[in-house]
């Protein structure tokens, strides 16, 4: 071929035709077709994305949450004994998937970190076509993933996230939280500990230095001070600390008579164990017995703390020892599948998957606009927490909160805590705009 004979006009015409020919196949792919909403399912199945920490300080909670999700998928698809689908009041799920489509799932390790959570969720949305993302064990990752999903036009069903910010200043229309929050813990726990230890107390707070820790500390300080307690000191410690001794030694001579540990996961186990080793629980201060409080109990990590949890008061979202029919159905399914009782992390994951599936079925679509409309102000029961409202104003679930107490005489390694008191939803309810923030519009386009 003589290139000198090819003029500019012919060159442009040829490359335009060649380019159009090469691009032709992509015009007919699903990705390029205008979608009604992001990742609209076209085949006989639909994909859920489970973003949970499988490494880092909350790895065991993440692994158990994943078990809960896997069980939920089985039950939604009509496999197994159906678990809480049999007790879920308000459900239209038929046990044949969602809107006739079988549920499949992908999962990723969020490492309980905001960046890793966003990266793994983004992969599940863009590469795997996840219609919904769910899961978390840290509030930092939950808030980050919620924001990402909102930008991507995907529904995010938060996992275990306890910071007020998730459905407070960082709330999004595309995000929903079933788990309770730090404010609720404070409101539920404060009257119980004031009743147990008296109103004339001085508290020393040792707090995990990140979003959830600040939120938890602020909530319990506010709730206890309102009932007469004073705050002696507030000390922040890095997330993932193993040795808390240098922060514990000043406690004894601080004038405080209560130590409040605003920690979770491995951090909670280490801080609590070491506080007990330092003999704080055997001491007297201000003429009273020195007490330790853990506002947010991690049931899985309480096993790691061993005997140190005995008699310690805290709060929980849910516990496998509850006697309602929903809890019993879930514990039976989970125990038979995995040989152990489910944690609150597994429970909230399982429930969130069911609630999303049911909302799609009720809306008759996977379109986030329809799903949001159904979930806002949705009332349900039979999922282990009593009558529950998914409040439309902030997408936070309102239900009973458990005050739990470390078991003094455990029968086995799972018998760590007992339900000390069930606090009604009314006592922990607050205004949707308490922490500001805007839900914004629902987003459904990629």
């Amino acid at each position: 071929m003589n290139f000198r004979s090819v003029d500019r006009r012919r060159f442009l015409k040829t490359t335009a035709i060649a380019g159009a020919g090469l691009a032709m196949p992509t015009i007919f792919t699903s990705a390029s077709r205008a979608q009604e909403f992001c990742n609209a399912p076209t085949g006989s199945s639909v994909v859920f994305g489970f973003s949970v920490p499988l490494s880092g300080p909350y790895a065991d909670e993440g692994a158990d949450q994943l078990r809960g999700y896997e069980l939920a998928v089985q039950h939604i698809n009509g496999e197994g004994d159906g678990g809480m689908l049999n007790t879920f009041k308000g459900s239209v799920l038929k046990g044949n998937g969602i809107l006739g489509k079988k549920v499949e799932f992908v999962s990723g390790d969020s490492q309980a970190l905001a960046d890793a959570g966003r990266a793994t969720s983004n992969r599940m949305i863009e590469r795997d076509g996840a219609i919904m993302v769910t899961g978390s064990v840290s509030s930092a990752e939950a808030i980050a993933v919620q924001s990402l999903c909102s930008d991507k036009g995907i529904i995010y069903m938060a996992g275990l996230t306890h910071s007020n910010d998730t459905t407070g200043k960082d709330k999004r229309r595309n995000g929903f939280r079933h788990f309770f929050n730090a404010y609720m813990s404070g409101q539920a726990l404060a009257p119980v500990i004031v009743d147990a230890y008296g109103s004339d107390r001085r508290a020393y707070h040792i707090t995990a230095d990140y979003n959830w820790g600040w939120s938890q500390e602020e909530s319990i300080v506010e709730a206890t001070e309102r009932l007469g307690w004073e705050t002696a000191e507030r000390v922040l410690t890095p997330l993932g600390t193993s040795d808390y001794s240098q922060w514990l030694t000043p406690v004894a001579n601080s004038g405080a008579d209560v130590l409040v540990l605003n920690h979770y996961g491995n951090d909670m186990a280490n801080a609590l164990t070491q506080a007990v080793q330092f003999g704080l629980r055997d001491r007297q201060a201000n003429g009273k017995n020195f007490e330790i409080v853990v506002p947010m109990f991690s049931d899985l990590n309480a096993q790691a703390a061993g005997e140190a949890v005995e008699g310690i008061l805290g709060t929980a979202n849910w516990m496998w020892k509850l006697e309602d029919e929903g809890t019993q159905a879930f514990v039976r399914s989970f125990g038979q599948a995995y040989g152990q009782p489910p944690s609150q992390s597994a429970h909230t994951g399982y429930v969130q998957a069911l609630l999303y599936a049911n909302a799609c079925e009720m809306a008759g679509t996977f379109n986030p606009e329809g799903v949001v409309e159904v979930l806002e102000d949705f009332e349900f029961d039979g999922l282990g927490d009593g009558p529950t409202l998914y409040r439309g104003g902030d997408h936070q679930c309102f239900k009973q909160v458990l005050v739990v107490k470390g078991n003094d005489d455990p029968a086995d390694r799972f018998d760590i805590q007992n339900v000390h008191q069930v606090v009604d939803a009314e006592q922990v309810t607050y205004e949707p705009d308490k922490w500001g923030g805007e839900l914004g519009p629902v987003r459904s386009q990629c």
Binding site: S242, T249, N253, Q277, L300, A304
Partner: protein, 341 residues
Amino acid sequence: MDWLILQFLNGLDKGGAYALIALGLTLVFGTLGVVNFAHGALFMIGAFCAVVFSRLVRLETVTVDPERLSPWGTPLEVRTPMVEVWLGDFGTFLVQYSVPLSILLAIPVMLLIGWVMERGLIRHFYKRTHAEQILVTFGLAIVLQEIIKAFFGANAIPVYAPEAFSSSLNLSETLGIGTSVFYPWWRLIYLASALLIIGLVIAFLQFTTYGMVIRAGMEDRQTVGFLGINIQKRFTVVFGIAAVVAGVAGVLYAPIVSPNYHLGMDFLVLSFVVVVVGGMGSIPGAVFAGFLLGIVESFASMAAVTRVLPAIDQVILYVVAIIVLLTLPRGLMGRKGVMEG
């Protein structure tokens, strides 16, 4: 006054842990010239020796009771502790004292791991640059911790001190210091053990012929080699000793912090700072800097200090390291010529 004693004790206690790990690090560096970033992993493996031994003596036989049901409706598993049933009081003693007894397991295990590490991998990097040594040993540390995670999971596993030492000692009553100074028994034992181990290692190097040869090799390996002594073999023994020291430190630390796969990494960077502050390759430097930085860190964590300088407790070791290196570039007790090209 009580607060001063408590923070000082806590500093010594933390310093003991830093010094023990830093001792091994600097020993390996001083003899083999290797910056061993896998040393923290050896500490972690030592802690898991305590986990394994505790589990072994707590092994249970599992029988199924068909008449009783678990909460999920399957026949209830009844667990019976084997060692206590078989050996009676001696079995109970083994269970109670599983942590100190697991040192007997840790010593051969750590020697073996140390030998395999040194012969199998690290010796191939003696003549490589320090950057390459750091890369390969850091990679090895990650591999070791992932192996532990695969076997034991990511969650911390509680290991208990003997019941007699699980409470706190009233130092005011016992020693007459302060008015109400309580300190955990096991942490005091840890501190005493750290001092003992450090003393033994220094005595071995200082007062035995074997140690004298090693010290001579550290000063001038070529001349020692001319005398017909296989100094490389002796340095391999030093690597084994360093592994054992790290392992025993890990065993004794297990009741203080429930072991998890990441435990070594938590200490590694801090211990490396200790070695740098003390002076690369200097054993007394590592010990002195370990205790010094432990005490500084302890006092910097007090609320009265963090109120004035927020988060100073989290950076104080690095601040001290910067100041020391600016004023004494070889560290507190560094030797001339070490890491100076």
